[in-house]
Amino acid sequence: MSSVQPTLKPSISSRLRGVWESDIAWSFRHSPVAMIAAFVFLALILAALFAPWIAPYTPFDPASLNLMDGFTPPMGEGMGSGSVYWLGTDDQGRDVFSTILYGMRLSLFIGLSAVAFAAVLGVTLGLIAGYVGGWVDALIMRVADIQLTFPSIMVALLIFGIARGLIPAEYRDQMAVWVLILSIGLSEWVQFARTVRGSAMVESKKDYVQAARLIGRKPRQILFRHLLPNVMGPVSVIATIYLALAIITEATLSFLGVGAPPTRPSLGTLISIGQDYLFSGEWWILLFPSMTLLALALSVNLLGDWLRDALNPKLQ
């Protein structure tokens, strides 16, 4: 786990960083899988980012929907409005293509924010645990153990249940997204903390950190200037893999009824809506969002795989 960490010394890191980065670039250029995955991921990100400009309809505005257009097959004309829908419409007459774009935007936002939250929390706690040691370390790691034994879905269900009770009804629609971020993030920070702690423990024994301590650098400076750059490699690998996991977890939570609100469906909500129509012949409601989720998660996972191998000097 800790061995993915690149053996770089800050003293020469600036010199090596250029080389190192070009190594990554080289490895990237020579991995067709990584290139395809990156292309797909980038395309999806851009599509999500520019959804309002790309999407022909505005699926999150209920007033703009024509219910009579519901269940229009791909390339079909809606019965109500006569509009043509490339990928068909769902049960509410929402354009599936537009909804996928907006839903993916939501899923990505939730996924990225959750991972960012988990990473910041995990890295900070991990650095502190590894650097300070002693009872602080013991406390943090014990909490991490407890957290780790609780499956993410359970954590999310618990947080969701509590948030539901605490948040005034009028904010719930918007809060659902933040609650999802919080609950997924909280269930994922441990892996970051453990990895970073391991590296921090090793690094903090090293001469340059001892030297920094001797010349009177503050612990915070040492933590963030010296230790942090050394753990960015493994952290970025974990982050990629957890991004995919976060998006899937969000989908599962939607299935369990605690996901994004139905009027603003995420990719996961769309899929759990779509699975109702698996037997009934409206395959497009399930197929297209599922394919999009698959493409998204697969490309992120493949990138994570590649990054893990590329960042591991021992495996080159």
Binding site: V33, D145, I162, A244, I248, A251, F279, L294, N301, L302
Partner: protein
Amino acid sequence: MIAYIIRRVLQGVLVLAVVGFVAFAMFRFMGNPIENMLGQEATRLDRAALAERLGLNDPVPIQYLKFIGNAAQGEFGVSYRNGLPVSEMIVQRLPATLELAFVSAVIAVVFGIVLGVFVAIRRNGIVANIVMSATLVGVSLPTFLIGVLLIWIFAVELGWLPSFGRGETGTLFGWQSSLVTVSGLKSLVLPAITLGLYQMTLVMRLVRSEMLEVLRTDYIRFARARGLPDKTVHFKHALKNTLVPVITIIGLQVGQIAAFAIVTETVFQWPGVGLLFINSIQFVDIPVMAAYLLLVGVLFVSINLVVDLLYAVVDPRLRLQ
């Protein structure tokens, strides 16, 4: 060692107490069981009376303490949903879940390790790359979708396997098991795959990366330099050295299996405790929810302990601590 175990058990009890309290704090936000327990004709007075009798008007800490006090005596109350003793319901449902979890864990571990070793040894091989990518599909789709798709293909379209339930059960070591009948085994296939797929991928990828690490170590080079055959080097020396992290993950994943069993059991109508839990959430069946969470907590704590003890079995360096 005994002192260590006792300390861990005490820590576990503390964890359970905290989890229990959080859960109880949450129950009140999950809805009101009264609506489900009384018919639509019930008057407001009936509702108030029942709430009072159930102790729902007590403050959360009081409800919690009552629960803990009873639980300590092995008394978990009766289900709000069907009036059956909770302990009886859980005992009746547990074999189904344990069996499902066990079979999927076996699938995950066996296939995960075998495939993991394979893709590590043939790191750049075409087959290994295909295996790596194909299994990624398994973790790129949510569990419920995989379950529904499996039902669609293997139950509805092909008609090979049952879509729900446990099939016939027979008695195995004193509990009702699906492992001893043909229809039971057939019923296990789809849910076990659904539940085990994700864990298998995880184990496989972990074994792979650990194997790659271990295969680069000096002692593996030294083993090769001593002329030991590849089979001995890979399986006796390398694989065993990957086991510590693998055991960790498998131990932690047991919790995930328990959680995902909720989803899988819902999709396949598998009559286990996960389905019971979902039913109790919908019904706000507080005694069952509380007992289930406690059970899951006990499970996690014991698994953690077992994992820690297993480390010592696998790795002599950890025995001293």
